[in-house]
Subunit: 273 residues, 2 copies
């Protein structure tokens, strides 16, 4: 089935087309070739895209699948008239019913990212990314109070990618703070965290997986030994239980699932629900 190509065509970045198209394609046991054709914002470029699609279809003997999020009706019309692919028009199909439901016309604005860079929400998102970088791994105690979410857990339990995802996707100021052997000896949360308990969420991980991840960084060290990982995880989970901190295991979860679960539990004020 790999001799079938899927095109993602957009007048903007094509990221929406690809995100949604991939979600649909994940419903099928196929691994098609992907071709992204972003910024198709003139009829000329549409003609180029059509030649590409039709040529591919001839080579493969199967019509390509074409996901589009085109909002320019002239360009879409050219594509509909001349493209031999299977056209899945993701916007058209929902925009018309919504126009009649809302009683207003759509604005055919190209690309939801195209004027994003001038918006307040966009500036806040960039600020959140910078904040999360500056507050990675307990680097800064400054402004922990300014965090929307603070992740805790032992080294390599998945905190950093999750905080960056929360910042990138949701514009949340997400810090992370390691739980280290000294904390376990004192049997207390790191003192810097205590005032912010309501925003804290814990990540844990199966010791076997942790040992594997740590071994990639520091092979054959005490740090990455299974015995040490077991002990750290045991202590970290005991501490979270004792301190009433909500937590989940990242072992078989993706960043997206971890982030979604955290948002459900912490419900940061800045995010509407």
């Amino acid at each position: 089935m790999s001799n079938r190509t899927v095109f993602f065509i957009s007048d903007g970045t094509g990221i929406t087309a690809e995100t949604f198209g991939n979600a649909i394609l994940a419903q099928f046991e196929i691994s098609p070739r992907h071709v992204r054709l972003p910024f198709i914002d003139t009829v000329d470029k549409a003609h180029q895209a059509i030649r590409h699609i039709n040529h591919t279809g001839e080579l493969e003997g199967k019509r390509p699948i074409v996901f589009t999020t085109l909002v320019n009706m002239d360009i879409l019309a050219v594509l509909k008239a001349q493209c031999n692919g299977m056209l899945l028009d993701m916007f058209g199909i929902f925009v018309a019913p919504l126009e009649s439901e809302l009683g207003i016309k759509s604005n055919h604005r190209v690309g939801r990212f195209s004027d994003a860079s001038k918006s307040k929400a966009y500036d806040e998102r960039i600020e959140a990314i910078n904040f999360s970088l500056a507050h990675d791994d307990g680097q800064s105690h400054r402004d922990l109070a300014g965090s929307d979410v603070i992740l805790v857990g032992v080294s390599r339990s998945g905190k950093t990618p999750t905080t960056l995802y929360l910042a990138m996707q949701y514009g949340l100021k997400a810090s992370n703070y390691p739980l280290i052997p000294e904390d376990f000896e004192r049997r207390q949360l790191p003192p810097a965290l205590v005032p912010h308990r309501k925003k804290i969420f814990g990540l844990t991980i199966a010791p076997e997986r942790l040992s594997q991840i740590r071994n990639e960084r520091r092979p054959n060290s005490t740090y990455s030994s299974l015995a040490n990982c077991r002990n750290e995880i045991h202590e970290a989970e005991a501490m979270m239980r004792r301190e009433g901190i909500r937590w989940l295991s990242t072992t078989t979860k993706s960043i997206e699932e971890i982030a979604t679960t955290i948002l459900q539990e912490i419900r940061p004020e800045r995010l509407e629900y």
Copy 2:
């Protein structure tokens, strides 16, 4: 129009529903309230969601808009039968025509992120995020050769958020490397970069905007003065022109647009086109 609520319902994280729904809603001049209802993976939870939707509709006097990416047909059937909202079933509408086009049945697999964590692509994505963090701001010359993309530009021209986005979204190992006054005096690319010219992409920015951004960090410094920003940008653009480096101005562009443009220009080997 703000007394209208939009729900995003999914048996997984709901991220696809929200990404796509937001793209559609951006076509309308409305600012509805958003409610995310992820992990609706049992009929019981579907009933709770329906109560929430129907109650909201009664309060607002308008039926809520409900984007769903449910793949569990039993749960979707309950929603279709009992929910008073305007149901926009994003999967159903495309999956059936694709089944007949491809000649295979869809697998109704819940959530494209749900078994992501066990895949090679997922591991590579996490590795790419770690790589990009380790190679932020020229921190490490080690393994620059292992980068898929290397971004260059003056301080605060937008390199860091873009490299992190490339890693997070596309699993690319993206480094970034600052161009500093010493490089301009020598009138040469930083020596560490020279062997990797093909992977280099430059970011520039309007001096006025740069000065504004730098002033937020270090107010009233030489570093952030308009005169200095003008000079650095002038030198950086001259160097990129001289060295034949492709570049764009980030001034009015979002991370998504910058990243998409970079991918079109650099075409990293690891990404299929």
